[in-house]
Amino acid sequence: MEGSDKFFVVVIVMSIIFTGLGTYLFLIDRKLSRIEKKLKEFRGSKNNDK
């Protein structure tokens, strides 16, 4: 498309929003991994007690 109508600004805004959503997904992913690790450690320590 012609570059004269500032359309690229809209493209940048949409890209920022999408990147933000992607970052949010990564944060959820990382948080889940931490909880999973904690649960694994908890299960491991419980088995050692027996």
Binding site: V11, S15, F18, T19, G22, I28, D29, L32, E36
Partner: protein, 219 residues
């Protein structure tokens, strides 16, 4: 970290690329649809993601029935929920697109009616699961139903529209424009977009199942 995450990053980058390139490339001048042909990158990708999710669910349902492992049931049901999400997105985006090109939110098109019927079949899956309290029975019955639902999906979205007399969708019955008519620049955006959304769908599925596995204590 990088070993497990690369496909998630790839999915995000591909979709980001499709947003930027999809809006900036020159598209062929077509009657009626004009600039809305760019919707192809976003609307059709939703259906690709839905189909892959429901196909994944189908495979995990078969796996569940051959081994009765709760993890397979978790994957199968999670994939159905993710698939329904993308299906609803596809329906909504398609309705808006149809309003401005075909003149109505809903037209009597075999592809549209097929999508509606198969979405209904999968919504029935969620109702079925919600109505059975006993865990093993819920898993077994919904797995059998899911295999049946996927058959319906393939017939209603893949077979019947192609056999129909007339369809407004390219490549379907009576419509002469096919994917072969898609110009090269558009393919360079469309294929990455579809792949990107499929990867993101798998990511959402993984997050969904991991969360539920934590809650239910399945590992």
């Amino acid at each position: 970290m990088i070993r497990n995450m690369w496909w998630k990053v790839l999915g995000l980058l591909l979709v980001l690329y499709s947003i930027i390139a999809g809006l900036l490339i020159d598209v062929p001048a077509l009657p009626v649809i004009h600039q809305t042909i760019r919707n192809l990158f976003y609307h059709v990708s939703m259906w690709f993601a839905m189909f892959v999710m429901l196909g994944t669910s189908f495979i995990f349902s078969i796996r569940y029935l051959s081994g009765f492992r709760m993890k397979d049931d978790l994957m199968a049901s999670g994939a159905v929920y993710t698939g329904i999400f993308f299906g609803l997105m596809g329906l909504m985006t398609g309705m808006v697109w149809a309003k401005f090109t075909w003149g109505d939110f809903w037209t009597n098109d075999p592809q549209l009616n097929g999508a509606a019927v198969s979405m209904m079949a999968y919504l029935a899956y969620t109702v079925l699961r919600g109505s059975i309290d006993e865990v093993a029975m819920r898993a077994r019955i919904s797995a059998v139903y899911n295999i049946f639902a996927f058959m319906l999906l393939v017939i209603f979205l893949g077979v019947l529209p192609r056999l129909a007399d007339s369809s407004l969708h390219p490549g379907k019955g009576g419509n002469t424009s096919t994917m072969e008519g898609l110009d090269m620049t558009m393919r360079m955006v469309f294929y990455p977009a579809a792949l990107g959304w499929v990867l993101i769908a798998f990511w959402l599925l993984q997050l969904h199942t991991r969360r539920r596995a934590l809650i239910q204590g399945i590992h």
